[in-house]
């Protein structure tokens, strides 16, 4: 199971890197979404998979999954939702202002604005 998760996380990261390196702004944002999903699955895997009984309710339960990674993922998911929503709005505004979503055309520094 861990191996399967590791492969899945690897695929997610690969796709994320590929999308982040592309030119279109929208694809980049989708890439960051995949990146954070990969990171969340990684937390889950790192906390150890498996376990069938609930961790708190049963007294003397031994075969339970660690609840902490799930709490961490919940926090991280909410944050990444918020940031992704913000980025989508920002991308829309940038598209409206610059008339392009091509990152190559959004280069520039102080000397030539």
């Amino acid at each position: 199971m861990e191996l399967l998760m590791a492969i899945l996380i690897g695929i997610l990261f690969t796709a994320a890197v590929y999308l982040i390196l592309s030119r279109s702004l929208l694809k980049i944002i989708l890439g960051t979404g995949l990146l954070s999903h990969g990171a969340h699955l990684l937390i889950l895997t790192m906390g150890g998979l498996g376990g069938s009984s609930p961790p708190v309710l049963d007294k003397g339960a031994s075969n339970f999954a660690d609840p902490l990674p799930q709490a961490l993922i919940l926090t991280a998911i909410v944050i990444s939702f918020g940031v992704t929503a913000f980025m989508l709005v920002l991308a829309y505004r940038t598209y409206g202002e610059h008339k392009t979503d091509n990152m190559n055309l959004m280069r520039g520094n102080d000397e030539h604005d």
């Binding site: 960051t32 990684l42 980025m87 610059h98």
Partner: protein, 493 residues
């Protein structure tokens, strides 16, 4: 008062929420922002006093015992940083009254600042590594708002890059925490330190150390991860730039110093050697940038990069002089960078340009500005008895003790480059033939000078009053030097 160390976090948060309800009433917003920050300042000063009297303060939220609940810890190092943060923010807010413009004030400018301070103070205070990630996100999301507020073409373009860099580094942070959790099975920073000491820092922990260096290095802008900084920081208006330049990179530096003195202290020749080499490269890269530009903002922005290198070089020495020098220099740099950004903000306001080649002769029309700029410039370069000297002296002393003489020589040489880069601004802007200035009113100029003068005087006092500050600084560096003080305070119950 058991909740004392939460006050500098909660008071700005509370006021930020209250400010959301007064969108159209600018005067009320200004008053409330200042009142909130003054209250937070009082709390943080009292906190620093309490930490001095009673040692490290801790609180576990929900009264869960230490390794299980989220712990907030305030030692002298974080108490000093929290206090400096709030002083700086107060001055930035006062400076913003005249310089930020009403349009931005209408769109929750002060709320965003206060939310950011919540995140910064939280990151300085937290004793839980995942909680630190959460506070990082709080300050980052507020900084996204601040950097894009105004919606100019250039701001939008640069914010996209800023946000992308930070989202990727946040994902890396989560990944690093996940790895750390799977190895040591705890998130409490004191407990992590104990567990790493028990297993003797095997190779995997060293890998995590390097990953953490990458994560915090992106936020703190060390070589080669500082590439995003000059472009992004030049986009927002000056008060926001002052806030970012003085605070945001320092949070990354704080996190590196905290983790590298608390967790990864068993194989220092690799981890701290790497940190030292990167710090030196950061200084060199910053020096090249600071000399390369004729743009006021860029010159001072590259000086941030240099300062980050100097502080981390001091921290990498892991001896008493090096660490107390790093603490001294960290706080000096927060104050002096704020002062410099304020000053160049006024120069830009007066001349209407940020290009050095288009200005000159300001000394004849704005003499006080020139003199205060000169004091700040000398303070930045570390000319005794101004602030900056003592920190750099201790860092160099620490490097000599640790036999890293080549590093000290580069640091000393970088002081000259720093001096050259800021004196170049002085020569171009204040000397020479007066250029025709755009018509500006004197009143905003005077109003902007007030917080600036206060901040410059503070930096001078920080340098002159070093003797008086030494006991606080010694406490701060002792915690870094002996992790057992921190661990005992957190895990005692």
């Amino acid at each position: 008062m058991i909740n004392l160390l939460l006050f500098p976090i909660i008071i700005p948060f509370l006021f930020a929420i209250v400010l959301l309800f007064f969108k159209e009433r600018i005067v009320l917003q200004r008053v409330l922002a200042v009142v909130g920050l003054l209250a937070a300042l009082a709390a943080s000063l009292y906190l620093a006093h309490t930490v001095k009297q009673d040692g490290v303060q801790t609180i576990t939220l929900g009264s869960w015992p230490a390794p299980f609940g989220i712990t907030m810890v305030s030692d002298m190092f974080s108490a000093l940083l929290v206090t400096t943060t709030i002083i700086l923010t107060l001055l930035v807010v006062i400076y913003s009254f005249t310089s930020i413009g009403e349009a931005r004030e209408h769109y929750f400018y002060y709320s965003a600042i206060l939310f950011m301070i919540t995140g910064v103070n939280g990151a300085f205070t937290t004793g839980d590594i995942f909680n630190m990630f959460v506070f990082f996100e709080v300050l980052l999301i507020a900084s996204y708002v601040l950097i894009v507020l105004g919606g100019e073409k250039r701001q939008l373009r640069e914010s996209i890059k800023y946000i992308l860099i930070n989202v990727v580094s946040s994902a890396l942070f989560v990944i690093t925490v996940a790895y750390l959790y799977s190895v040591v099975g705890t998130l409490n920073m004191a407990d992590i330190s104990v567990k790493i000491a028990e297993i003797g820092q095997p190779g995997i922990i060293t890998v995590i150390a390097v990953l953490m260096l990458i994560v915090f290095g992106i936020k703190g802008s060390i070589f080669p991860l500082y590439f995003w900084l000059p472009g992004s920081y030049a986009a927002p208006p000056i008060p926001v730039l002052a806030l970012f330049g003085a605070l945001l990179t320092k949070v990354g530096v704080y996190a590196i110093m905290r983790t590298y003195t608390l967790f990864f202290v068993h194989h220092t020749d690799f981890t701290h050697g790497l940190l030292m080499v990167l710090a030196i490269l950061t200084i060199i890269a910053g020096c090249i940038g600071a000399l390369a530009y004729f743009d006021l903002k860029q010159i001072v922005i590259y000086n941030i990069v240099i300062a980050v290198g100097v502080i981390l070089f001091g921290a990498a020495q892991m001896n008493e002089s090096g660490l107390s020098g790093a603490v001294f220099y960290l706080i000096h740099d927060m104050l002096i960078k704020g002062a410099l950004f304020f000053l160049i903000g006024i120069i830009i306001y007066v001349t209407g340009t940020s290009d050095l080649r288009k200005m000159g002769g300001l000394m004849k029309t704005h003499a006080p500005l020139g003199w205060f700029y000169l004091i700040a410039a000398f303070g930045l370069a570390g000319i005794p008895p101004l602030s900056g000297f003592i920190g750099k002296l201790l860092i160099v002393e620490g490097a000599f003790q640790a036999d890293h003489i080549w590093g000290s020589i580069i640091i000393l040489a970088s002081s000259l480059v720093v001096l050259l880069s800021v004196i170049r601004i002085f020569i171009y802007a204040f000397w020479g033939e007066p250029q025709s200035l755009p018509a500006t009113e004197r009143k905003p100029y005077r109003q902007m000078m007030v917080p600036t003068i206060v901040l410059v005087v503070l930096t001078v006092l920080y340098g002159v009053g070093t003797e008086w500050l030494v006991p606080y600084m010694t406490d701060a560096s002792n915690v870094l030097l002996q992790p057992s003080i921190y661990i005992d305070a957190v895990l005692k119950e």
